[in-house]
Subunit: 367 residues, 2 copies
Amino acid sequence: MAEIGPNTRLRTSPFYDATVAAGVTAFSPYNRMLMPVSYGDPAAEYDRLLNGVAQWDVGIQRQVQIKGPDAARLAQILSVRDLSKCAVNQGKYVPMCDHRGVLINDPVVLKLADDLFWLSIADNNILMWTRSIAAERGLDAEITEPDVSPMAVQGPRAEDVVASIFGDWVRGLKYFWFSDAEIDGIPLRIARSGFSKQGGFELYLMDRRRGSDLWNTVREAGQPWGIGPGNPNPAERIESGLLSYGGDTDDQTNPFEVRLGKYVDLDLEDEVVGIAALRNIRAWGLKRHQLGIVLDDETPQPGHAAWYEVTARGRTIGTMTNGCWSPRIGRVIGFVLISRAFGPGDTVEVVRNGVATEGQLCDLPFL
Amino acid sequence: MAEIGPNTRLRTSPFYDATVAAGVTAFSPYNRMLMPVSYGDPAAEYDRLLNGVAQWDVGIQRQVQIKGPDAARLAQILSVRDLSKCAVNQGKYVPMCDHRGVLINDPVVLKLADDLFWLSIADNNILMWTRSIAAERGLDAEITEPDVSPMAVQGPRAEDVVASIFGDWVRGLKYFWFSDAEIDGIPLRIARSGFSKQGGFELYLMDRRRGSDLWNTVREAGQPWGIGPGNPNPAERIESGLLSYGGDTDDQTNPFEVRLGKYVDLDLEDEVVGIAALRNIRAWGLKRHQLGIVLDDETPQPGHAAWYEVTARGRTIGTMTNGCWSPRIGRVIGFVLISRAFGPGDTVEVVRNGVATEGQLCDLPFL
């Protein structure tokens, strides 16, 4: 393995020093920042997430702030999901598409006020994209990247930890809703959200000088429940059927192909970027769909370095986008993006480094 | 140092296997790909570039291809430099700005035909940007990322190496001009260009399956001149005054601030993105400018992990964006982006990890 460290094109998160102290061993870039991806003990990290509580540096989940008279209209223009019923202090998971109807992000959109929104984004330059659309449409909105960096607290004991710090009111937060909070003078917002299906919260730190303070506060509070460091977990997120934008999608992927159709409202106004294209895609029918696959392989192994070819009867039918060994299933599982001629129950082959392995297609999520 | 390796959101270049075989020791991400940044012997890598010849994997320099009836108009709309006199087979170094006049890239624009252009880009999602502007303006152009990956051959003996493979005609190529070529069935384009001031070529590989073949062909041909692996060299590029987009620029930087004013044509049509904002910026005057700095520090050291504060008489006047020890000057040198109240000859202080070091401002380039 080769080395990586921060440089002037690759920023650190406010939690960087704390993650180094916690023993981070590997990074991957995300939104031009260093994202921790391992602390050297995958089994313990998985176990904490499934059975206890973990704290994750997800400061790489940047916010695009939209503020001003046209903020609500612009947020809707960028979103193929209807935001008209989104309340203040509510968030919504939203597919964003380009004019072709191709997915360019899947942020959580947080409505802070009628004229103030955050797009809490996956890995792409949505700040530039938002400015581009606003300027081309002549909309009156100020678009910035505020000093906001989330830390996730995830796992079945996350609620106990977060409640022990901020109070029992956090137990009443509904999924994707958020509220202002403060601890030791650290300004933040608390949302019930996170990139796992084990439950938990994201603490949106709003003063990057206080990253280590917030990390250590959560670490100390979490001791009774055995808290430890972690990161978005490849095995758990695949078992849970969570999409990785950019990892499971390519330059042609539309939301319907990757199970996001339920978040697309085709009757939105034509001014919404991509909505006209999505109507056409829906009308003409899809070529590909995303399914799960269980490989005939029980060998624990790390994630993919690249997409693998999927074949059936000697012909290429698509790709296996990501996969890993599943501790709960005891097999290598993953996502495929393949021809709609194949469906759950079918047997196909995945070609990994020149070697074909059989696997069975299935619906998602796995668990 | 932590580890990094390829994953499904972080692609490898066609030269990846060859760079691993050549002993690459560190990567940094660039355009969501792995860019080699060290082979473990900085002194030898610098020496080869200055006195011999080096081969670099710069496959991360992606191409945005614009093709169709409106291709030329779209290329100009994205460029604040006049492209009307650019000939087929000619390239031009071009600042690209957003609607605020802020730099979002500094590609080489290659004109392949009257209706076909490549933007050979620095680190940003210009593919998405280009599609956005084209769609919003209703322009008729197909915008894609073609299978094209440059390898640079740089240094005073680069011409001998490239001529030994492709013929003496390459010696006649003018700066930024390019030509089709082929070797052993490998399709490519050869341009006289590269991110150094030591002279050389970029070989635009047009079949990613042939990356190792092209790398090995160049390596073999370069043996008489002592060729070896390298990458864009921090010391040489700073000595030479070459800008690193995203490393020396921030979310407010306009081309005038960073010495690119000579590539801005303010009398372009208003439809050019950013040109109206740049006219205002020019009229109102600049707040910052980029200069060189020579620090009172003779200690060899690696590049910056982040920007440093620059102070004068106890007040912050800007930042030192990048710096490193210069083998030819024997001091730590770098770029500052500071208030225009300070100029060449002034003494200022740079605060590195809490310690202030004096330095003298100077014009760029250093050498």
